[in-house]
């Protein structure tokens, strides 16, 4: 379970780490849109350049970012294979009723690369932003929509708490699993029904402890007079700095370049 790197945060103090979370969220959002606007292979130069730049600046190796792909390899492979066979065009090879086409191969590779870039680029956001500042950023970005009845603060608080408890629950799962294994429990063998049954000794204690924690947390928050977002000030005010403006300039250049390349190449 510790192998999953999606959503993980790597503490650091690089330029990317120090950016305002709002900047990073906005840039990530436009980066995703950009990926879908590109229509040829050459265009990928721009997002790749962006990732390489971010990797150099943040000190997080591209190799580490690619690790996040591991759980999604299946989806990427499926996309690739579906595209290869589903698209009509010049036939390269025939396997039974399936036609391998030149266009399919092109489109399949194109889609697979898009997915890889999508995952790697977005994982940059969570790799360089602590969960707390990430939710702070989301809260600030959502706050204009408060008038429409969107409870920005409450949403952000729920996200913070959920994110905060992921590692705790993982640790707890690990511990209970080991404790039951020490009593001879078997979580690995048997068919699906048997396996599901075998999970009971893990799930019951896990749920009980999750509820206990929720209860304690609610109590602790009330004891410290928490009563929602109204009039609440914060210790760390978000502030855009020259670093953020520079990021916008650099990123806009990349986006512009990519958009122009659509027509030139």
């Amino acid at each position: 379970m510790r192998e999953i790197t999606i959503g993980q945060y790597i503490p650091g103090n690089s330029a990317v780490h120090r950016l305002d979370p709002r900047t990073k969220i906005i840039v990530t959002l436009f980066y995703m849109i950009l990926l879908f606007l590109l229509n040829n292979f050459q265009g990928y130069v721009f997002p790749v350049a962006f990732i390489v730049l971010a990797s150099v600046l943040s000190g997080i190796s591209i190799k580490y970012m690619l690790k996040g792909l591991r759980p999604l390899i299946f989806i990427i492979a499926l996309t690739f294979i579906l595209n290869i066979f589903m698209i009509k065009g010049r036939i390269l090879y025939e396997i039974g009723p399936l036609d391998l086409t030149y266009e399919g191969l092109y489109q399949g590779a194109f889609m697979a690369i898009r997915l890889v870039l999508l995952i790697v680029g977005t994982s940059l956001l969570t790799l360089t932003t602590s969960p707390i500042s990430l939710t702070d950023g989301i809260e600030k970005l959502l706050s204009p929509f408060k008038k429409l009845g969107i409870p920005a603060h409450e949403l952000a608080m729920m996200m913070t708490i959920a994110l905060r408890f992921i590692p705790t629950l993982l640790e707890e799962t690990d511990k209970i699993m080991k404790a039951q294994m020490a009593r001879g429990a078997d979580f690995e063998s048997g068919n699906i029904i048997k396996r599901a049954k075998n999970m009971v000794p893990l799930l019951v204690p896990l749920f009980i402890s999750a509820f206990r924690r929720a209860d304690e947390l609610a109590m602790a928050m009330e004891a410290r007079c928490y009563r929602g977002g109204e009039n609440r000030t914060r210790m760390k005010e978000l502030k855009m700095t020259s670093l953020d403006y520079m990021t916008y300039v650099i990123f806009s250049t990349i986006v512009l370049g990519a958009l122009i390349s659509r027509y030139l190449w």
Partner: protein, 287 residues
């Protein structure tokens, strides 16, 4: 049952920025019937070490040999070894899950594939061994019990497997003084009755001094010392420099000695100290 730990090293999350070495080159030999205390600061690697002893964690390097059998050979029968080496985790009451106390304690022996009647007998024995009234608690939900009783039920769940080695990770953490003493007494009684090997992880130097014969000291992933309790507690400076202490009574005797009183300072219990002080007073009186 003898356990030999050879050059054991464990690295958590190798190859990531979170890589950390939890254990460094540990060598440890536990003979049949010994009573060990394992002490060390929080995060010194005690829990990681004991999880290796029954194969819950795999060493990054080094090996663990149990009765001549390498624990991490492909042929090792982990299930059998886990039954022989009972491990009681910290706050074991958090692992309870069944509807009744009886069923929960039966979980271990049932997993071993024992016949019903043997399981029933073992469950009764185990519950009585931890000082609970079998008939009174067997049909109760474990979640109705008090914290101390829950802990006993959880310990009984391990005892019901009749382990030959019992490892307890801070079995008294968070209990009141009475509950603490009772659990420790039950462990001592159990050890006498079944003649099992016990490894006790604890932060209470008093408990350690009173109960165990031998002590292993962990510091930053290394086992920096092992020996008889008397030897270990003689090194007051060494222990305090790594954030540990010595029993209060031992410290008292050391201070007396520092003030020039003629007393031995490797005492471990109040009774020994009393005898030692009386001896010193008599010598003074006769001189």
């Amino acid at each position: 049952m003898s356990i030999i730990v050879k050059n054991l090293t464990h690295v958590y999350m190798p190859g990531t920025p979170f890589e950390s070495t939890a254990l460094k080159d540990i060598n440890w030999k536990i003979e049949d019937g010994e009573f060990w205390g394992l002490i060390g600061h929080t995060g010194s690697g005690k829990s990681t070490l004991i999880q290796h002893l029954n194969g819950l964690l795999k060493p990054t390097a080094g090996e663990i040999i149990i009765d001549g059998e390498n624990l991490h050979a492909k042929s090792a029968r982990l299930k059998e070894i886990r039954q022989k080496i009972g491990l009681v985790f910290q706050y074991p009451e958090h692992q309870l899950f069944e509807e009744t106390v009886e069923k929960d304690v039966a979980f271990g022996p049932k997993n071993m594939g024992l016949p019903e009647d043997v399981v029933g007998k073992r469950v009764r024995e185990a519950i009585e061994q931890v000082g609970l009234n079998y008939d009174a608690v067997k049909d109760k939900s474990p979640f109705e019990l008090s914290g101390g009783q829950m802990r006993r039920v959880a310990i009984a769940g391990v005892l019901a497997m009749n382990p030959e080695v019992l490892i307890l990770d801070e079995p008294t953490a968070g209990l009141d003084p009475l509950g603490r003493d009772e659990i420790l007494e039950e462990i001592v009684a159990l050890r006498k009755k079944r003649n099992i090997t016990v490894i006790l992880v604890s932060h209470s130097m008093e408990d350690i001094a009173r109960l165990v014969d031998k002590i292993a000291v962990m510091h930053r992933g290394k086992m920096i010392k092992q020996g008889s309790s008397r030897e270990i507690f003689r090194d007051y400076k060494g222990l305090t420099s790594i954030g540990l202490g010595i029993p209060q009574i031992t410290e008292l005797m050391m201070r007396l000695r520092e003030r020039g009183k003629d007393v031995a300072c490797d005492v471990l219990t109040v009774e020994e100290a009393r005898a030692e002080i009386l001896k010193a007073l008599r010598r003074k009186g006769s001189a």
